[in-house]
């Protein structure tokens, strides 16, 4: 289980590949990998966005992500997981967050991955400030829901 806060760009697919290669003893054990990657869009709330800065609460962000991963492990038989979250300055089309979950069966992998992602959105202390035009930045007010009926 790894939780990583990243300053600077990362390629989520390379990170998953690299992490999976380090999983000794997992060969042949996992049948399912569920992955979510969040990427910066160039529009939000109807406005074009040029870039953003991601602030976090160092120490608490790691702690909260580790708690969330532990909660997922308690609810589903997760074999391993990787959570990465970027901080600092970001440009559109760059990855912000990666959640990958390895499990024996697909239902568990899907459920745990989505649980981690939703909990991260609602509890991990990160804040986005968007750069719109030549103006000052705009703090994003609140995350939208990931489930339709919650």
């Amino acid at each position: 289980m790894a939780v990583v806060i990243v300053q600077g760009g990362f390629d989520p697919w390379q990170e998953i590949q690299g992490y999976q290669n380090t999983l000794d003893g997992m060969s042949g054990k996992f049948g399912a990998t569920s992955v979510f990657v969040g990427t910066m869009r160039d529009f939000n709330a109807g406005d074009p966005v040029k870039g953003m800065t991601l602030e976090h609460y160092p120490g608490m962000s790691e702690k909260q992500l580790e708690t969330i991963v532990a909660e997922a492990q308690q609810q589903w038989p997760v074999l391993d997981s990787l959570v990465m979250h970027r901080v600092g300055d970001i440009l559109p089309n760059e990855p912000i967050v990666l959640v990958a979950v390895w499990a024996s069966h697909r239902g568990d992998a899907f459920d745990a991955c989505r649980y981690i992602m939703e909990a991260l959105k609602s509890r991990a202390p990160f804040w986005k400030k968007e750069r719109l035009g030549s103006e000052d930045g705009r703090w994003v007010g609140e995350n939208t829901k990931g489930y339709k009926s919650v």
Partner: protein
């Protein structure tokens, strides 16, 4: 007792302050910490609070050496 107070994101900007060191005597809650630290500012709606990097309610009581943080709704991911 002495505690550290921290502010993040839009709250840090609107207060013009990222952290404070405060000294109290007696029992205080998270809400009291805000009152002492920001006597001119009402506690914003939707504010979140953490003590030692765990979420707490505003009525949570504070111990010597605690780190108390206030911040707006999180928007990561």
């Amino acid at each position: 007792m002495s505690i550290k107070v921290r502010y993040f994101a839009s709250l840090k900007e609107s207060l013009g302050c990222s952290e404070d060191d405060l000294v109290f005597a007696g029992l205080v809650s998270v809400r009291d910490v805000w009152r002492y630290a920001n006597p001119q500012q009402p506690l914003p709606d939707n504010i979140l609070a953490a003590v030692n990097m765990e979420y707490v309610s505003l009525d949570c009581s504070i111990d010597d050496g605690d780190e108390v943080a206030f911040f707006p709704p999180v928007t990561g991911g």
